[in-house]
């Protein structure tokens, strides 16, 4: 079983595909769940506190907007954990979105420069493309130890 990060890192469709193939999908939703279920913090809606943008300094400098650093405090650790990645280009907002394009760019960069196997895909626009899309993901995941 490999730990596979998906991009967009909020994509439940990709999460499902990875988990079905017996691997561990790394998605930001889990990091959010950990925060919102933590006791003793009351910073709605996500329980992100001003400490998170400071933790994000590990991934981006202080002159990078706080919203990017705050997001990176959640996404950065799962990139570090990842052993493989699936990146879907132009996924559309329904597939999942961090809400911030600068964060998306940084996430893609950090995944690509990590030196792990990466599957690059375009988002399917019809049924035939969707079948090929799923097949490519399956083949990629089967090739992972």
């Amino acid at each position: 079983m490999a730990k596979v990060i998906v991009y967009p890192p909020t994509s439940m469709i990709l999460y499902d595909l990875v988990e079905r193939m017996g691997h561990k999908a790394l998605v930001v939703s889990e990091a959010v769940r950990n925060l919102v279920t933590a006791s003793g913090i009351e910073s709605p809606p996500l329980n992100v506190t001003p400490e998170e943008p400071k933790k994000g300094l590990r991934y981006a400098a202080v002159d990078v907007p706080s919203g990017v650093r705050g997001r990176m405090a959640l996404i950065g650790p799962i990139i570090e954990e990842a052993e493989a990645a699936i990146i879907v280009e132009d996924p559309g907002w329904l597939t999942g979105c961090s809400g911030c394009s600068r964060t998306n760019e940084l996430v893609r960069l950090l995944i690509r420069t990590k030196g792990i196997p990466v599957l690059d895909l375009s988002y399917p626009t019809n049924d035939d493309e969707a079948k090929v899309f799923v097949q490519k993901i399956r083949t990629f995941l089967e090739g992972l130890k």
Partner: protein, 408 residues
Amino acid sequence: MIRIAQLSCGSEYSGIQKEIDRAAETVGAKIIYPEVSLEDILNVENTFGVSVSSGDLNLAMARAVRIVQNPDLADAVIVMTCFRCAEAAIIRSEIRKFIHEHSKIPVLSYSFTERTTAETLLTRMEALVTTVKYRGLLAREKQTGLTAGIDSGSTTTKSVVMRDNEVIGTGWVPTNEVLKSAEDALQAAMKNANVAKDDIAAIGVTGYGRFLVGKHINARLIQEEITVNSKGAVFLADAQKGNATVIDIGGMDNKAISVQDGIPGGFTMGGICAGASGRFLELTAKRLGVDITELGKLALQGDYKNVAMNSYCIVFGTQSLVNSLALGCKPEDVAMAACHSVAEQVYEQQLQEVEVKEPVIMVGGTSLIEGLPKAMEELLHVKVTVPKYAQYIGAVGAALLVSGLLED
């Protein structure tokens, strides 16, 4: 309950959403998020005029469209995005303009960091709520009876006594002990007006020390300086009808307010950098060995272009001025360079966030430093008005507004 619609990107991931909610709650308002459909977001290019790659900014634009289409959804709007995000800065400004042009809903825009707290937002939020809650009072154009106003500022405390629409006494003291300075300023104004405290029907208080001073003297009106100053400015400049822009460069912060019929429509408030405040001019005057009241006249004789200013920072900017003097620059050029530096910072950082419409009225003690309004005129290419009693603007606004409460 005043409903403030929040159109933002990044606030929850910056960890400041709780602070925004807390500031709103403190001023008796609640934050709301206008509902939009996915279709609204996908169509934002058609309805708003542009879509961008960041999803949350498209969501904010779709919400702006929804508010314009349904103005009953919100009483006021706050547009907030991350500091230092170029994409967000463009969209934040466009959202503000869009709402300003298509509705009468007051808008506040702000760029935040993770260090933004409820206290940072409080004055801004209070002003936003006031423009909604006391619209009738703010529309008031005349002062009646005998009232007084106190502006408890960060550097100086000002007071005026007004009778039947005229300023009849003024007082101005440095702010040392907040309460004592307020009492001294009021005493000076009363003495100048030749009236006793018991004769004064009501007192209004504004400025940084407003809560402390207002409680101590049992003020009838305790109000933030944005609404009060804009009221005082258009009153003194005789510009109560139509558009106006008020620029108030204070001792510790500065404000740019877009005013419509005497009521703030949009405003920004700076306070991060002392280089854009009166403090920088004080330091310059001290370094040049002239009194602050003489700095402006000296500056009028100078040319800022003869001085190389390498920084807006109060420390490094002063260093540039000192270096220039050492290189043989004239004191008048240095004085004008300091004025130009402050004006340019306000122009670059504050005035891009409001609609600059004539007349442009400069107020506050710094407006009396003649080089500053001149520098602002050169940057804006419009005539800048400095009304009589410009340094008492907050106190005048407070005395004017509190007289309205007596009639209600």
